[in-house]
Symmetry: C2
Subunit: 208 residues, 2 copies
């Protein structure tokens, strides 16, 4: 017996659009088999390529409202008249099975989750390296008008303003380096004393 039991942790990655969060999430899931992506529930219609329970849990508005009222959502929000939320039970099942769970949510979702699961939450804010690089990433198509890009920049600035609410800040100047930092944060948080269960038992057999 050389492993100490620990509670699973919930790892939140937030960033403005264009900071590389989606790439970093995918890289993390590929690199570490101990962490799984949280699957959201949504009221928006399923697209042909999407798979129920993998991409989303597709539910009716009534069912979504009932989940929210019953406290079965860790966070939820409305985007363009569609509702999105994080069902609590699959997350709790994964944590109980010794898995960590990754969340790709914005500052509002993070605030809601913090209120519900404070101790088990580890939050990382990903920042783009420069103003010019952020603008370049937000100009996704050559024909984007300056007004469209300016609107996206304003939205990015609003999201970025919430960095002080996060445990860690990672600048994505180089995706390999940023990936290594996210991996290190996950590895370190797994060793955090407050998260380890059964150290007392472990120590008791050491010093019996």
């Amino acid at each position: 017996m050389t492993e100490i039991r620990r509670r699973g942790l919930m790892l939140v990655l937030s960033s403005p659009s264009g900071a590389g969060k989606t790439t970093l999430s995918r890289r993390l899931l590929e690199a570490d088999s101990g962490i799984v992506m949280s699957v959201s529930a949504t009221t928006r219609p399923k697209r042909p390529t999407e798979v129920e329970g993998r991409d989303y849990f597709f539910v009716s508005s009534d069912a979504f409202g009932e989940m929210a009222r019953a406290g079965e959502l860790l966070e939820h929000a409305t985007v363009f008249e569609n509702q999105y939320g994080t069902p609590r039970q699959p997350v709790m099942d994964a944590l109980a099975a010794g898995r960590d769970v990754l969340f790709d949510i914005d500052w509002q979702g993070t605030q809601q989750m913090k209120e519900r699961v404070r101790d088990d939450l580890v939050s990382i804010f990903i920042l783009p390296p420069t103003h010019a690089e952020l603008e370049r990433r937000l100009r996704t198509r050559a024909q984007d008008s300056d007004a469209v890009v300016a609107k996206r920049m304003a939205e990015a600035a609003a999201e970025i303003s919430h960095w002080p609410e996060y445990d860690y800040v990672v600048v994505n100047d180089d995706v390999e380096r940023a990936h290594a930092r996210v991996l290190a944060i996950l590895a370190a948080e797994r060793c955090r004393r407050s998260r380890l269960a059964g150290v007392g038992d472990f120590v008791a057999q050491l010093t019996r």
Copy 2:
């Protein structure tokens, strides 16, 4: 400008004898050029192979007492009538130069340092993997009597009892794995938001 300034951090490694702390400290210093070892002051006589300022600062009992009274020691202790302590100024100079500083001190030194530098301290407790392995490591010579080993085990148990006072717990079941965990903790703590200075300025240029 893609780096955010941060305060240096003080990384404490504590463990009982026989848990591999010395090896892990050496490996960390070799692997990461951004962290330097703290050099203690001591009243014990210099040995021929030792170098002033590298192995220790060798000082008289009077000078040591004066440093302690003046608050120039972050922690200090008496071992076999010799005094050992951590001079504050070289640590502060290293932190100001953007370096992190490593401390190989016991639970009592850690407690003293915590009182003086709470926010900048990151503490890791290294545990041996099993009772049998700890005993094997403490029986350093074949001719050690059972009584000598039992005394060392009791001392190890007393040190181990302080694990709850540390931020992280790492079981040294495999030195490569334990080394990777210590490195990850250092890398993660360097991204900790509360330790970063100038994120506000950085964000201001992003979202100007």
